[in-house]
Point group: C2
Chain length 497, copies 2
């Protein structure tokens, strides 16, 4: 290795940062555009804040902040103030609302999308930069504000491409557990945490396993003993009712509330939480939100500590097949809730707020994996082949005519021969290649290769004479029929896909 | 001040970072969408790279890097590698192309937009985060590739909202000066820099002042003496011809090249540069790019040191009026050129590339200042007024009907009275407010306030009876006519604006 080579940097992405291009990127952008259109129709205005916030303004609300810089990318500005890249879109909204409250229309509805950054250990499918899309209402304590966010999230997910039944939003209220613990005399934070973690394991352990963890503890198959939460029996019984109601997919929202109320032991705070949920249900019903699209599930907690009331979790019910042929559920793609204290960090005055956030890349890849990204298939441009410098005018005219007709088109700009150019057109996903050789030009004609037909024939999917007669791989037409011929090929390709 | 208040963070943006919302943001997004549509029609695929690059991959190509961390936001990752936020979209493209060259279609055309970050001293209108939009072709040394970028940039600027004659792209070739200096025996880098800086002052000093700075030096009116470049007379004479051709707006591209050739003294390198420009002109002519939209200007240099051939600069000719009533030209909004060595930093092998970049916020604010942002006026949603909890169903039905008809609409979600709600609707820029009081509901009717008519009457612009008869400020209509009545108001507002 020479010194020059040794000094050369290696071309690589920083760990946990990815490049996105072509089809995937276009699909993600369409998704965001469709959801944005819904959010704007619901009266939410767009807001973009800067990538950096002062560290003190950002606060420390990340779960799993197990690293020295607490999960964010931080640096010290030249005036010694610490700044950090935003880790979500809620903290910047709280800062913005506190800063501009006097001049904002109240309540203030805004939506936002953009990258967020988390300084966590990267891994497969786990990035340190990803795109979120949020909608929030600041300044309304009405349950209708929560219901609106939930109903709008449903409509947004549908606009993104999810059919009815492919997603569900589960809704609960943080204060159910607050009330239950208070009324049951459970005050130790560790005891509460152990209980909530046990509930999270219901899918894996079933009620018997969870009951052990809510009680004295549990010896698992490997012989490890996990200490339990030692909850009073009444509290554990109510949690059992919570889990039963969550597991019964046939229950309406109102019926779920009845079951939870019947379990008892919720205390005044828990009863108030139930009343809030009932008001949300009335508003959802008034907005004609389907019982299967939004369910109540008292076991939903959400990790972030800033939630103060209603909490939401959006779960994809789509099943996809993984590399090993197993059916995989995507699970949670977003969530949110009410956070009435976040703006007060700045102002000292409580300002009610509620919102919903989802991961754009995560939803896009779920749709793709479920085969619902096909409509977003991105075609390459029509490629005009280059033979001779002297005929450049002819090539450029053809490209220009196609573009003017709204057909994406490009001139091959390398210096390779015909064969390499056809390969290039194929790799670009071009529907057609335009050939203007000396003979064609002299005769006032143009040859158009139908590359999809060629691909289909090569793949044997269209190996019959009738099909070939209908879609010949190559056509020689009068020059004046360039655009109409290309257009018919592009449209045939669109219909076939 | 209590301790709690003292501990509260102040709600403020980090220096040089701005929040953008509503109308301005929507206008910027539309601009980017329109330009993207053009770029895709020309066969450029979208690419998004991460915010961070390794510092060594980013290189040091920023001009005015007068600060210790050289103009970028850098931090050390937990594996001790230095990463920095990208300062433009070209360096990440060079890294991406080097990393993926084997699998990319060649030549590779891509466009990109997104924020870039510069750790510079912020000031009024000078941000440390701003949005750029780039298009580049990697892997083509053809002059047609440069011409394509230039022609596409013209079409993109038009799609963004600039009329013909409101912008010009000036094109030159770095190697004109390389050839001129070499042929004239000018080898001292400082001498070259002094000469190029002198040329930059032509607008202010005229030829006499520039001539002095190209020669021995110049005493200005304040008595300060600036040392000159001491160029040989022949070199200075060619530069005079450069400036004369640049100043003659009536010259065609071909005529400009003739003038520059006639000035002589360009040497072999300069002659080759002229031939490249002639080939670009032939391609531009074949693409029917107007002589007034793209001009040759041999004084264009561009600051970035990585350019190796053709260079472009897009200048807005729009004049706007500043705060003090003076006509202001916006000047440069973007530029680009050929950079054949940038990928070789990684691979050691030369890979020709050419591209164009413009500042999205800068162009958007120029269009806004020139009054061309009006078409982008963003209307607020129709606001449905809330009187009584008991009638919530009626309000929600009205909102839902409007949205289903594609009319942005929202329910007032605060807890204030009628007057405050009307004020809210006004601040939201709502075209109409929907009033469903107890009387209206009982009678199967709805009152719709035309807020634009109200504003117009208040402003006295529509203070006549005929107009009032045509657009009454308030209408009581049957409930079934809600959507059609609101729609007629929204459309009247659109026509009037």
């Amino acid at each position: 290795m020479t010194d020059a080579a040794a000094a050369r940097p290696e071309a690589r992405n920083p760990r946990g940062f990815a490049d996105r291009r072509g089809r995937d990127l276009v699909a993600e952008r369409r998704l965001v555009q469709r959801v944005s259109a819904v959010y704007e129709r619901w009266g939410f205005e767009p807001l973009e804040t800067g990538a950096f916030e002062y560290a003190d303004a950002l606060g420390k609300f990340l779960p799993d902040a197990d690293r020295p810089n607490e999960g964010v990318f931080a640096l010290q500005d030249d005036d010694d103030q610490w700044m950090a890249l935003r880790y979500d879109l809620t903290a910047p909204l709280a800062r913005f609302a506190a800063q501009n409250w006097e001049t904002l229309p109240k309540p203030f509805r805004r939506y936002a999308f953009g990258p967020v950054w988390r300084n966590e250990k990267p891994g497969p499918g786990r990035f340190r930069e990803f795109v979120q899309c949020d909608a929030d209402t600041v300044g309304s304590d009405r349950p209708e504000a929560d219901a609106e966010i939930i109903a709008m999230a449903c409509e947004g997910l549908q606009a993104a491409g999810l059919a009815a039944g492919q997603a569900v939003i589960r809704v609960s209220n943080r204060k159910l557990f607050d009330g239950l613990f208070e009324a049951g005399g459970v005050t130790d934070p560790l005891q509460k945490l152990t209980a909530l973690r046990a509930i999270d394991k219901f899918d894996r352990l079933g009620w018997e396993g969870v009951a052990a963890l809510l009680g004295e503890g549990r010896l698992d198959e490997s012989g490890d003993y996990t200490k339990g939460a030692n909850l009073p029996l009444g509290v554990a019984a109510t949690i059992e009712a919570f889990l039963a109601s969550a597991g019964d997919a046939g229950l309406s929202r109102a019926a779920t509330l009845e079951r939870v109320a019947a379990a008892g032991g919720l205390g005044a705070i828990g009863e108030a939480a139930l009343e809030e949920l009932a008001a949300i249900d009335r508003a959802l019903a008034a907005m004609k939100v389907d019982q299967s699209a939004v369910r109540f599930d008292p076991t939903i907690v959400r990790g972030l500590e800033y939630y103060t009331g209603a909490v939401f979790e959006a779960e994809l019910l789509l099943e996809t097949i993984d590399d090993k042929g197993r059916a995989v559920r995507f699970g949670s793609i977003g969530g949110g809730g009410r956070y009435d204290d976040l703006v007060a960090r700045f102002t000292g005055e409580r300002l009610p707020a509620t919102g919903f956030s989802f991961g754009v890349s995560r939803l896009a890849s779920a749709l793709r994996a479920a085969g619902r990204g096909d409509e977003d298939a991105v075609r390459g441009p029509v490629v005009v082949i280059v033979f001779s410098e002297a005929d450049m005018q002819h090539y450029l005219d053809a490209v220009s005519e196609l573009r003017s007709a709204g057909v994406p088109a490009e001139l091959y700009l390398g210096r390779a021969g015909m064969k390499a150019q056809m390969k290039y057109a194929d790799r670009r996903g071009a529907p057609a290649a335009v050939i203007l050789g000396g003979d064609e030009i002299a005769a006032g004609q143009v040859t158009i290769k139908d590359l999809d037909a060629g691909r289909a024939l090569a793949a044997g999917v269209a190996d019959n004479e009738a099909w070939k007669a209908e879609r010949p791989g190559q056509r020689l037409v009068p020059r004046g029929e360039l655009v109409s011929t290309v257009r018919s090929i592009v449209e045939a390709a669109r219909t076939a896909s």
